[in-house]
Symmetry: C2
Subunit: 228 residues, 2 copies
DNA sequence: GTCCAGATTTAGTGTCGGCTAAACCTGTGT
DNA sequence: ACACAGGTTTAGCCGACACTAAATCTGGAC
């Protein structure tokens, strides 16, 4: 109802809900109560209650028993948080010696405490980057964002050369392994072999050869290189 | 009672209470309910309630109707926050273009969100400073702190030369004025004239002459120079 | 068309941390 | 000795946000 919920002065909880719902409802899909609960590690009833309050605030559209979507207002608030989160990650990696498996946790708290001024100062000294350390795009201050098309490495046919552009960050342990074999956004990779039935993939990166499981190949995303 | 309150995982509220009480009870004095309420801009009953909880947690000693003091545990927690606050201020000024009248507000929020790791990284890139931008001493990681002796500029007799070492930061507006006439920690100041009855003080700093009110002279602190 | 498992919501509770109004204590003045 | 003002505490309230247990809906199997 209330169309003018102040995007500033939202609670830490609320901000995290909005970010989660943003992640879970791409392209007009609905995010379900249980998906949200699982992502935020909360009970389903807690989510139900918050969903009710947020839709009364005008940040969500709730279809009972189906799920929720962000309103324009909610989307703006969510993208604001995503921008903060990713810029903070970039800043910590660039200037304070963080590695990409540790930044997420720190950013998860800081994103709620920084002022708009501070975020923009960080962006400025970073040179207004467009991607974070995991290759995720950083929304512009006005909320616009464009997800560049990308394909899982696991779907690249043998023989092709591609560039890693994004890495799933959900498991820090896995992130550490990925870093240890030199894979990160910007690195060129040549797929030299692919075994069938979700079998291992052999790649060449930075002059070295690695054999990775199919599962890993699904969380490494590549730019679909126009091979000329 | 509970002697082992985890200093980590205190609430933002609790951390601010402890910091306030630390400021208000130097050298075994008691901080009164109304002093705390005034400093934190809360009602007296709110403070009464929190004081009860904190003393049950073992962070305070409460003498009803007299006031509170920090326990060793509470003092440790408070100094941890003071260190965070002052290091964050120093970092923001050194690396992110903040001026000393704006940092306090930002630090007031960030101090609750940073990890120990981040604080120490900031300290490291700053070269482990011992004072913040206002000249306030930064407690060591182990909680030790030493307040260097200092005298208000208003008490320096005419003819003496002193060095500004600390500036009261409670009024941003005043802080801006002080900065505008070039006074900041480290600057040398010669007192050329002092009028009686809390009258104006004439000083020379950085080659320029300024006349300041007595009141201002009371919030500018100087190292008592051993004139050799 | 009915039934059931699983998802979702509602009901009821608890803690934290704020508030106002009212009761209470304490030190000071007479 | 005692009243009173001002500070302090208690009583009672509320909103935010979590939880568990119970009720309810819904989509798919049959
Ligand atoms: Mn967060
Ligand atoms: Mn990221
Ligand atoms: Mn604070
Ligand atoms: Mn300071």
């Amino acid at each position: 109802m209330n169309a003018a919920a102040a995007v500033e002065s939202l609670t830490r909880s609320v901000e995290d809900y909005l970010k989660a719902i943003y992640r879970l409802s791409p392209e007009g899909r609905h995010a379900s109560t249980s998906e949200i609960a699982h992502l935020l590690e909360l009970s389903a009833p807690s989510v139900s209650g918050m969903v009710k309050r947020l839709s009364e605030l005008g940040l969500l559209e709730h279809v009972p028993y189906k799920g929720v979507q962000l309103t324009a207002e909610g989307r703006r608030a969510a993208l604001r948080m995503v921008r903060r989160h990713r810029l903070i990650e970039a800043y910590l990696v660039a200037f304070l010696g963080y590695s990409w498996d540790g930044v997420h946790e720190e950013a998860e708290r800081l994103e709620h405490a920084v002022s708009d001024t501070l975020v923009e100062r960080m962006a400025a000294v970073l040179g207004n980057p467009t991607v974070d350390p995991h290759g995720d795009p950083i929304p512009a201050p006005d909320g616009s964002i464009h997800e560049p098309a990308s394909v899982p490495l696991a779907e690249i046919p043998a023989g092709r050369t591609v560039e890693i552009c994004r890495v799933d960050q959900s498991q820090p342990e896995r992130l550490r392994y990925i870093a240890s074999i030199g894979l990160k956004p910007g690195v060129e990779v040549r797929v030299t072999d692919r075994q069938p039935f979700r079998g291992p993939i052999t790649i060449e990166a930075e002059g070295r050869t690695h054999v990775i499981g199919h599962e890993l190949g699904q969380v490494l995303f590549c730019a679909p290189r126009d091979d000329r």
